[in-house]
């Protein structure tokens, strides 16, 4: 067996030295005015983001904040789409808006290709992943996903009140992605912590965030070495063998893409499943209809994705620019709020209502343009199967304590505590 000398050094070589990035001053505390001082990291946002966007769309459609070293928040569909399509002015080098900006030298590859990549590199990095995530390819995970969801429901037996976020929704994407990457299923609880570090904890001190993220790369290196010794039919072995422009991938590319796949699919899908169950728990007429009419479920899933879209992305402004009337500075963040776009009345009829049989639904929950979610077919399958199994097995459920429902802060929005009374 030949040794792959790409992975003989320690985990710190798998990513660029974060010290080369820039840190902005951490500004916390209550928001004074959402139009000029917004923050996506506080409890107020967690509880009321939808109302905040609706308000801003009317009075200040491109809101600003001095926090995070400067950031913008467009809330109209039209503006969100324009940013997503405009890779001239906006870079994906940073996609999690906070007080850390990745080193400029990382562009156009970024730390976690392809989500962090800009053209022209982006296209090729993305192309590597597409075949594994087509609708057909992810269909192969459906049976095992269904069996796993059923086993989770089995585990709820005998209880009147369960936490549908923590006891059900959370586990599904963790298991699916562990299987696809070929990681031990019992490592699931660790993935949760990796995700939390990457996506939440935005206002933690930089040293703390960096220490936490090095643990992720140490873990990935262990998995990589294990796969080099025992290659198998999974995404990790695929990435280790994959070639780009006639050469095997750079070690940082392999590890960065693995980190992305691990992180991108977990909180997002968990949030989508949780938000759908939350809606149904509070709307018995919709719940009864979906229990009785399984054929309607795929359409309802699209409406839940529109109305409770879990994912807001970010971009970094490349150079100073006057953009649609506002003065953006180089290195400002722009939050790319697909959730706000999805609730714009200029784009959707009855935008503020959840209509589970909505026919025309051109929502942007999986993004727009070149970065369209690579995992969208996988996520749709998980969401559909998770709801199928739940509705068939637990047709009666309601919110056990509406005040105890807790929504996440940050860019991925979904219920993190969701106590439901079942049966």
């Amino acid at each position: 067996m030949s040794v792959d000398d790409r992975f003989t050094s320690d985990a710190s070589t798998l990513r660029s030295d974060p010290a080369l990035g820039t840190f902005s001053e951490i500004v916390s505390g209550p928001v004074r005015d959402w139009a000029t001082d917004f923050s996506h990291t506080g409890e107020e946002w967690a509880r009321g983001a939808i109302g905040i966007w609706d308000d801003l769309r009317q009075r200040c459609p491109i809101a600003h904040t001095e926090r995070f070293g400067g950031a913008w928040l467009p809330t109209r569909y039209e503006d969100v789409a324009a940013v997503a399509y405009d890779t001239e002015h906006f870079s994906s080098r940073g996609i999690i808006a906070g007080n850390f900006r990745p080193p400029r030298a990382l562009a156009p590859v970024g730390g976690t290709p392809p989500i962090s990549s800009d053209p022209p590199f982006h296209h090729d990095a993305r192309k590597l992943l597409l075949p594994a995530f087509t609708k057909n390819a992810v269909g192969r995970q459906e049976e095992s996903t269904r069996a796993f969801c059923a086993s989770l429901v089995d585990g709820l037996a005998g209880r009147d009140v369960v936490d549908a976020a923590a006891d059900y929704a959370q586990h599904i994407p963790v298991r699916v992605i562990a299987d696809m990457l070929g990681f031990p299923p019992e490592d699931g609880p660790r993935f949760r912590r990796f995700v939390e570090n990457a996506l939440e904890g935005i206002d933690l001190p930089p040293e703390e965030r960096l220490a936490r993220s090095s643990r992720l790369f140490e873990y990935l290196l262990v998995q990589i070495r294990d796969h080099l010794e025992h290659p198998r039919e999974d995404l990790t072995s695929y990435l280790l063998e994959a070639e780009l422009h006639g050469r095997k991938l750079e070690p940082a590319h392999v590890a960065g893409t693995m980190a992305l796949l691990l992180i991108a699919g977990i909180d997002t899908t968990w949030s989508a499943i949780g938000a759908s169950l939350w809606h149904l728990a509070g709307h018995p007429e919709d719940r009864r209809r979906l229990v009785a009419e399984p054929g309607l479920r795929p359409r309802a899933v699209e409406e839940f994705l529109r109305a409770y879209a879990p994912v807001t992305m970010a971009r970094l402004v490349k150079d100073d620019v006057t953009w649609r009337g506002v003065e953006m500075k180089a290195e400002d963040w722009v939050l790319l709020s697909f959730p706000a776009a999805n609730r714009d009345p200029a784009q959707f009829e009855r935008a503020g209502e959840v209509l589970i049989d909505r026919q025309v639904n051109r929502h942007a929950a999986f993004g727009l343009g070149i970065h369209r979610c690579v995992g969208s077919h996988l996520a749709r399958m998980e969401l559909r199967v998770a709801l199928d199994v739940w509705l068939d097995r637990v047709p009666e459920f309601s919110l056990a304590d509406p005040a105890a429902v807790r929504w996440s802060t940050g860019q991925i929005r979904g219920p993190r505590a969701l106590p439901l009374r079942i049966g």
Partner: protein, 74 residues
Amino acid sequence: MRISIDPSLCQGHGRCYDLAPDLFGADDEGYATLLVPDGRVPADLEDGARLAAANCPESAVLVLRDAVTEEVTR
């Protein structure tokens, strides 16, 4: 009625092949393909064609009424 896909816009969201699997398929990377010759839509599948066009997030599905009238909806 005829349909076509604008490959410069299609990003492989797959709404078309979810909603109208008799008209649209997917290639190895998930981008949409046409399953009907020349994009000619059999009369009983016209609703499916309209539904696909109305749900494509990238507005990449074009529905053309008869070539003469040139009415285009995306």
